[in-house]
Symmetry: C2
Subunit: 338 residues, 2 copies
């Protein structure tokens, strides 16, 4: 097996940014999309790394994202901040809204950022980490495509609706989770199909709404939510808050609007930020110290904190560079050549 | 079998309020606790109905709740509202804070209510419904007692940490869920023990942290979170936001402070309210109509919306009165006699 190529984070960022600039994205779009993709690759989240470039390019070529979009900030000084992505990528809109969100949360205690009219492809944890670095706790959520049947239901309706949270830990990596509210990502079912393996019970229903362990039948049917009716309720909450409430598309509306899951969905996103320093002001004890005792007790039982693997991969990438296989380097070369 | 006694909601409210007034609670404490207990009984949530009176009285008698507490509102006009319960019940503090929370959310888009220094015994859905009646969406959460092992862990650390959400549906009952982030309520494990049944796999670990299906071993060990590592992450988030962040006790701290699970825990609570009208302002479409399409599509698949059973029981209670068995009536008589 050939040795992997090792690229510095800066070098990979330059390559990926260049691919998107050449595809016609303006500066803020290209840089924000590239930063998110490189963060995925750096943290060894391959499903959100350079593998995503092709889908982004396909969506640009199909005219479903505005490559020249300039995110528009709308803020009246209160705790509700809106960025209209103008049909551009969510990452660009977030880069405009995040500093205002963190500032307002620090000043007022709680604030919310709404992103509207965006094309979405990104994991939520890079956004969460931007906010924890600014010293605030954050919750983020968004719809996606109708792909998941509600608990007790029979057909795709809810999205895989990611739910993410972060808590700042001074001097350490933050406590961060970011997961799909489906029992698994759709890619997991694809992998089972490719490998000819049956699915575990409880992952999916077929096109008639019957439980199935056949990955083909599952892909023609619907995935199920994590955690039974509780996960289904949380996924529904995400449709209501980060779809209906923010005046943007729910997952069935997003699928209806685009008519295909081969392109990236257009919808909105909701991020809530809270300042522990403000919430705990005047109260006994230090909120960060109290949190450390809890998190240390979790780790002390041998339970893994979420994102630990990502942080370990990040440390390795910062030390040794990002390792890319010969196939990955060839893919990058092809994308650069256009 | 003798026919149940049927009491009107007003009549049961008077009886339960009288019990708490005679136990020494001041007016706001007695009325708010009684209203919550009667709401549980009315909705046939027996686990949060009159069965809870004895535990409240035990906690009052033990001197662990201040019967004369007057909740103190702290609000500087911003989106962060605090009510110090002064060692009284959370229900009284909520009754003071809720109107301000709803008003601020309607005016500013998002607002948060922190309740500190309260004794907690109540389900969260009565609070959620107070807010949806005021036209705002709401999220509520609180720690409880260390009773649940984190996913991958071996010992009680997290609470059963309830997570509740509501969305207002004009002219209809709201969309409301309220569930423990443990896989089941502790009472379910008690019931299995009483009935001599083994537990399903995945509910609990024994005192050595090994998976168990023996209810005795489970009660000496720890429950597990719902939904594996995802539910565990949400439960941890609740400890961080509604414990550490608000300057109040986490579940292990609450157990440590009281030293017993036979009395009601003292800690805080966090409620976030958001105004769909404000969040959707200026956006195409009506957020409430968009939500109805989603919720109708869920019900149209034959999937149950959360709280439907409660609303059906409520309609029956409002029509026919609340049905109480001879044993329940005898219990009430005994509590009245003191």
């Amino acid at each position: 097996m050939p040795r992997p190529t090792r690229l510095s984070i800066a070098a990979l960022t330059e390559i990926v940014t260049g691919i998107f600039l050449r595809a016609g994205l303006n500066d803020i779009q290209a840089r924000s999309v590239a930063a998110t993709i490189v963060a995925g690759e750096r943290d060894n989240c391959k499903s959100h790394g350079i593998y995503r470039i092709a889908g982004c390019l396909r969506t640009i070529e199909a005219g479903k994202v505005d490559p020249a979009a300039e995110p528009e900030l709308q803020h009246d000084g209160g705790p509700l901040i809106r960025v209209n992505a103008g049909g551009g990528f969510s990452t660009a809109a977030f880069s405009v809204g995040a500093p205002v969100l963190a500032e307002q949360a620090a000043a007022q205690g709680i604030a919310a950022l709404v992103i509207n009219d965006c094309t979405h492809f990104s994991a939520l944890w890079p956004e969460i980490e931007t906010l924890t670095e600014a010293g605030v706790a954050a919750l983020a959520m968004c719809p996606s495509y109708a792909a998941v049947a509600p608990s007790g239901g029979t057909a795709p309706l809810l999205g895989t609706n990611p739910f993410a949270f972060g808590w700042p830990r001074p001097g350490r990596h933050p406590y961060v989770f970011d997961f799909a509210t489906s029992i698994v990502a759709r890619g997991e079912i694809e992998l089972h199909r490719q490998d000819g393996r049956t699915l575990p019970e409880g992952w999916a229903v077929d096109a008639e709404g019957r439980p199935t362990t056949d990955p083909h039948a599952a892909l023609a049917g619907a995935m199920l939510p994590f955690g039974g009716h509780k996960g289904s309720a949380i996924s529904t909450m995400i449709e209501l808050l980060a779809g209906a409430m923010i005046g943007d598309l729910t997952s069935p509306e997003a699928l209806g609007a685009l008519g295909s899951t081969a392109l990236l969905p257009a919808h909105g996103e909701l991020i809530i930020a809270m300042s522990p320093a403000r919430f705990a002001a005047g109260r006994p004890g230090d909120p960060f110290a109290r949190a450390e005792r809890l998190l240390d007790a979790i780790a002390g039982q041998g339970a893994r904190l979420p994102s630990e693997r990502r942080f370990a991969a990040r440390a390795a990438a910062m030390r040794d560079g990002i390792a890319l296989s010969a196939e990955e380097m060839a893919m990058l070369e092809e994308l650069r050549a256009g």
